[in-house]
Amino acid sequence: MSDAMTPASRLQPVLGLLSLPGQMRRLGGGPMIAALVLVLIVIAAIFAPLYIPHDPLTINATQRLKGPSEMFPLGTDAFGRDLFSRVVMGARVSLFIGVGAAVVSVALGLAIGLVSGFFRLADAIIMRFMDALMAIPSILLAIALVALNGPSLWSVIAAITLPEIPRVVRLVRSVVLSVREEPYVEAAISLGSSMPKILWQHLMPNTLAPLTVQGTYICASAILTEAILSFLGAGVSTEIPTWGNIMAEGRVYFQIKPSLIFWPGLMLSLCILSINLLGDTARDLLDPRLRKREG
């Protein structure tokens, strides 16, 4: 009965991540455009110092809240700083926060989740602690953490990361618990492989696909959370422009100069939209249950 080689079963998630771009082409325009937008934003951010017309930090009292001009392509903010330069430089920091939060929370969550899925005793304590951490509203926790450490870049990343960890831990743990019942894991036990080896070589790779998806969502939500923290006055110092704090500073002028929110908001939304779309695409491709439904 099982000798079937249906086309769907050939699309096993084996090299799922590697073959992603190829599969994406089948999915049509949306994800492709998203990928393109993201690549453009990243490139623009990386090479920002090479082409920005002004130092994003230089203030100029005589050029406050000016409209677009040759000198200031998008106008200036309330300190007379060049909005264009700030937005593209802000991309660097915002993306860094997004990627940083995603990488750190996924890495820590993976480690804790594997341990938790492995050691039954540690599991009880770790999961209680994770429950507690989940129960604390993440924005409040983040504000408190930023207040604790001062609004430096790293404390913002830490504040965004910490509330994400329990979700990653739960994800990893659930994968570990379900995969450890798989026959090939039991076969590995029978072959005398040690538990750490099984965890790392057999179980961990199974978490990579869902973690990639989760990572994209964390990345997107971190960028957004940073903006909200800035809005609430607990964000990164304006010495380091981020989309969040550009908007937070600009929101006071929303009615007289909407571009202060519009441009960083547009970039942020485009960026998050792209990341989320790619995350969705990855999930659709990597989730065998959904694929089964595609027939």
Binding site: M134, M247, L277, R293
Partner: protein, 313 residues
Amino acid sequence: MLGYILKRLLAVVPVIVFVAIFVFLLLRLTPGDPAAIIAGDAATPAQLEKIRASLGLSEPILVQFATWIGHLVRGDLGISLISNIPVTELIGQRIWPTINIALLTICLSVLIAVPMGVIAAWKHRTWADYAVMTFSVLGFSVPVFVIGYIFIQVFSIQLRWLPVQGYTAPGDDFGKFLSRAILPCLTLATIYVALIARMTRASMLEVLGEDFIRTARAKGVGETLVLFRHALRNAAVPILTIIGTGFALLISGVVVTESVFNIPGIGRLTVDAILARDYPVIQAMILLTSAIYVFINLMIDVAYSLIDPRIRY
């Protein structure tokens, strides 16, 4: 069932204890001094020290913790360091706007999002599906305060349909409550609808692939009934979960929305308390929200067993 609820309630205790210790330590390690906030700009160090002593902040941390826990088990959440009003009273003043807004938002969101998700799953890979998915991704991608400003600009300032800000208790004047709550609720609902619609779609997609859906179709059951009687109820557990855990998100979103629309809720109370280092209020609020979260999870689990007869505790 009752035994299960009891057991779950017992399991809440360690969670709350963890939260309590965590929050207490976090706050006491935080720089900032409520005494300095109370005393204002012109205070001298000696005056600050006196105020600190009168607030009980000069005691060793362990003593402070023991005092707090001691009061806590007696149900006494303490007195706000800043306004000198019992924390329970403060929360009592501020919690209803948040709860009312949150409930209205949930109702609104579920009414919008669930049909959206169902249709998206049913019309999988059609324009309807893509439209719903695009909206739900978009809903995630725009900061909530930007959405709020846009709504104010459009509905209050340009069209002049709705008031800009403020809150009226539904008991005082329900019409006024609705007119003032509708914009903040819509603002909050943007994310919430996105979240629920996504989850509904994903869960429905999975259920629609199940054998019993094929059975129902084989019986000649119409599509509407297949979707809502057979599929939705089976898809309900993850949807309920997201509605419940989304509540935490709602509380976070409420903080921002409360600022934009000037609603005197607990979100602002908490943020103000954090910024003013009003320890008893922060501790109480975080404990309270954690307790609400845990309680909602319990309610969800109980609801599971009502929805799905296979789940029995």
